[in-house]
Symmetry: C2
Subunit: 629 residues, 2 copies
Amino acid sequence: YIVEEVMEGFDRNKLETLLKQRFFYDQSFAIYGGVQGLYDFGPMGCAVKANLLQEWRNFFVLEEQMLEMDCSMLTPEPVLKASGHVERFADYKVKDLKTGECFRADHVVKQFLEKLEADPKTPQDRRDEARRILNSLDNLDGAGLQEVIVKFGIKSPQSGNEISEPQQFNLMFQVSIGPAGNIKGYLRPETAQGIFVNFKRLLEFNQGRLPFAAAQIGNSFRNEISPRAGLLRVREFTMAEIEHFLDPADKSHPKFASVAGLSLPLYSAKDQMAGLDATEKPLGEAVSAGVIANQTLAYFMARIFLFMVRCGVDRQRLRFRQHLSNEMAHYACDCWDAECLTSYGWIECVGCADRSAYDLTQHSKACGAQLVAEKMLAEPQVVVANEAVINKGVVGRTFKADAVHVTQYLSSLEEADLNSLATELESLGSASREIGGSERKLTPDMVSVRRTERTVHRLEFVPSVIEPSFGIGRIMYVIFEHSFRAREGDEARTYLSLPPVIAPYKCSVLQLSNNPKLREMATAMSQALTQAGLSHRIDDSSVSIGKRYARTDQIAIPYGVTIDFDSINKTPATATLRERDSMRQVRVEVEKIPGIVQQLVQERLTWAQVMEAYPVFEQQETIKDTDGN
Amino acid sequence: YIVEEVMEGFDRNKLETLLKQRFFYDQSFAIYGGVQGLYDFGPMGCAVKANLLQEWRNFFVLEEQMLEMDCSMLTPEPVLKASGHVERFADYKVKDLKTGECFRADHVVKQFLEKLEADPKTPQDRRDEARRILNSLDNLDGAGLQEVIVKFGIKSPQSGNEISEPQQFNLMFQVSIGPAGNIKGYLRPETAQGIFVNFKRLLEFNQGRLPFAAAQIGNSFRNEISPRAGLLRVREFTMAEIEHFLDPADKSHPKFASVAGLSLPLYSAKDQMAGLDATEKPLGEAVSAGVIANQTLAYFMARIFLFMVRCGVDRQRLRFRQHLSNEMAHYACDCWDAECLTSYGWIECVGCADRSAYDLTQHSKACGAQLVAEKMLAEPQVVVANEAVINKGVVGRTFKADAVHVTQYLSSLEEADLNSLATELESLGSASREIGGSERKLTPDMVSVRRTERTVHRLEFVPSVIEPSFGIGRIMYVIFEHSFRAREGDEARTYLSLPPVIAPYKCSVLQLSNNPKLREMATAMSQALTQAGLSHRIDDSSVSIGKRYARTDQIAIPYGVTIDFDSINKTPATATLRERDSMRQVRVEVEKIPGIVQQLVQERLTWAQVMEAYPVFEQQETIKDTDGN
């Protein structure tokens, strides 16, 4: 796909106006001038978010019996040192030397070079050079970026002023914990670490068995240098992460067969390097061909795809792109991003990474805890080990006060060193080693090497981790873009075609006029809908019914009940039921409506079935456009 | 109640062991030594929390059609200056002068004086003095606390070392936002401010009408000086807050009649001062008698009570205590805390405050936004106003270059000043005013005061706010304490009697042995339960069925299905269904079980009804205690 093609006729301003006016979200603290990169979700955005998270819980946690966690956001420094974030979770910033404004160095360079490349006046050789640099921009460090800035004379993109040299800027928010100010910490930049540091307890809870998955929904924080693009690059955001722990020797998945036939648009690293496009490929084939590293990774890619489509992402604008080696995070050994095409281009919404044993190994090293699992061996194994047998008497007599150093040295020797010591003692009759600052001569009467054999039935190992990581705000924005529509012939009448499972309200209740009897019946309908657990909105304002339909369409309410005069004058009482996307209506007995809407929302009934079962109601469509008040 | 009486036989250690072992929650970053006041919820705690919040949403947001919000935690300083938190959200700390350890000054003083008072060797006059100070401890500022510390020679409670003078310590975590480090902010100490700063948009969303309520679930942060008592005083915690905006002239509530007859244990400020106990009183009476300030406050107290009891708080250990004037927060004009009796004493779990117009007024002042609502007047009102009519010609000729100051001065005069000016001009023939640094003589030819009349149909006003604010972690801890039980005759066999709506899993699936046919049927049962939307846990470990029942009781699973040999050998296939609290079992057709459990969980069926409808199964109870593996 080409961005321009898919986006033809799409007007981002119109969407943003709708989202702001109907309070899906807005900049936080707007009455105080706002803070870049911080957003508040209003009632509509909050409901969409809650529905999306609930669906995520059902689709992943409940379905796969994952162990859900809820961990602290405040995180002490040692944890994030071990994970590599203190050292490496940084971007380069440049500062406008006059205004003090900061920009991401790579963004400034990219923007400049892309403009240069696109300018027809640029000589061909310079254009080629710009392209070469753009292709390997991810590989440049601060010095590399500075070289480009100097070479091309790049200035501040806003003011044209000189800019500083690129400086590394850690993206974590620093926080001091406790009254004495001596516990240094950060707001977590991802939720994953909370799960890793609890691995032992989780394994225990799972009765020691692998594989199992833990999951967490929660907020993370990144002090972005220059937040932009609405919900796509923000400083505080909700993530939903899964850490699936498994045996590195067996990354198969018991349910893989159920998704092996599913074709996903895959954009492999190889195809990217070759300048090819993404191609649809059945997952079974992709795993066999080694395009995707293992079954478990592929299984989760399938689940991510199904979840995204279910929640309203357009499957035509969704692909899985494999990370190139130069962009892979420091912990990953294979990684595929679920990317969605938007008016901002292809946007990463879900990362699906094989983090191997990186995190558990790092935390084990840092805090000394044994973060390992055990497995029964198919057959018992004999483990051979060497052991130093020290003759303390001889060592003591020979080295006197220094004997203790020699004993310690010999006790701490590892397998390989013991082997070479044994060989030397045997072949040369002695061995010379620097111990405690002096050369010491060791002889066979001081130490011998004993070979031991042990039969083991269980093997300890550090589990690997497969991590699907969802950016909830980004997914929400993509769903909004992909479900944004205008009525044919009336471009100003925009609406959101969200799937019922995600829509903020499931149903609207309108009354044709302010007549008290209509109002009474509308109130009863509202109570019946609450009883049925259906969130709904009553719009009893005095604007025309047509305007009220348009308003409920804007907040994506999939079904609408209208109480009219037939509802109160005829027996049995009926009302009209309207579907948002088709704007078609049927007339249904009032009592049946909550049950029908419930079945529609739960996808146990289709609108087509409702249209067949009940008399179509045409009249209201006329009222819609002419009935003022 | 007396703490000792209610807590008789309660062993907090046993409860804490259960909660830790079955991973309800544990200290965060425990493998790194942990951080005080930070907790992670494991799978069981996380499920309880998610259930509690879901129930809160249903009970408050859905039922009352509240507008739910999801606002940023990072908050710029001006917002929290306006709310009063920068200046006043602080405790006094004292530092151990040798170890540097910090304590809350009031806690140190309280602990010391209580010990002194309880010591029989303390002379009576000194004992009386201790009591006097204890009674007014909340009124003491830093200097007052220091006076007590010096007078009694109070030392560090841990080491006995000298302590520093009390210093004010703001409890908010400070954070620097943005790459330039020039946006000073804090992690929010409550979620409420996010709602207040969005008031205008919310009112607009509600089509300009009052009353309406906004709600928010989210995390807040307080850098407690010395966190303690587990989940009760922590540095990061989840709150659920409601801000109900209403006309200060009308605090009635349309649904009040539905709760007026409900009697709640009320502990009014007056009764506290008089040394009386809490008394049960119907809410209607309490409002009429002026004990509770208004209907809306009382309505929410009723809803809080019903919610708490529904979620597992013991109604015998729940009371509403009114704040005394010296403990009322800076914003509140009446406040009742829902307090629960625990082994730590009476603990505040929900605050229910009338914040009056404080917050909206403060934010209006600070940022200039008009945070007001309008109402139609029952009858149009005539508003009289005075206006200065300036003769610019005379003013210009008289004051020349300074005329502009005089004109500005006259235009900016407010009602009262205009009135006194008019009076002076009329009675004295002139008036003298300091304008632009000089005395100026004003005469009737320069300015006259005109009286204007305007008929208004709508009135602008700043709404009041009623705020119920729930501490989710505290409520969870209380529920755990109140539902902790031991089996009669087997005190070591402890369990949690959580209501099904709150229990982490709704059902367990056990198989009597490892027989593959039993396993197959257990798997099918698990799938059927997932289909019915019932979270459940399969325990197919090889320990005895009795031990597995005990284990499922510990994690509060209310119902358990056991597949035994009758399940596979007889037609129709049946299994046993067990209820946690009574440990009674019935035998039911396998196909019916998911539906029955669903009805039990949704409270559409009682266990007594199930016992009547299906044959009681006695045999398993024997197996439970003898069947090893």
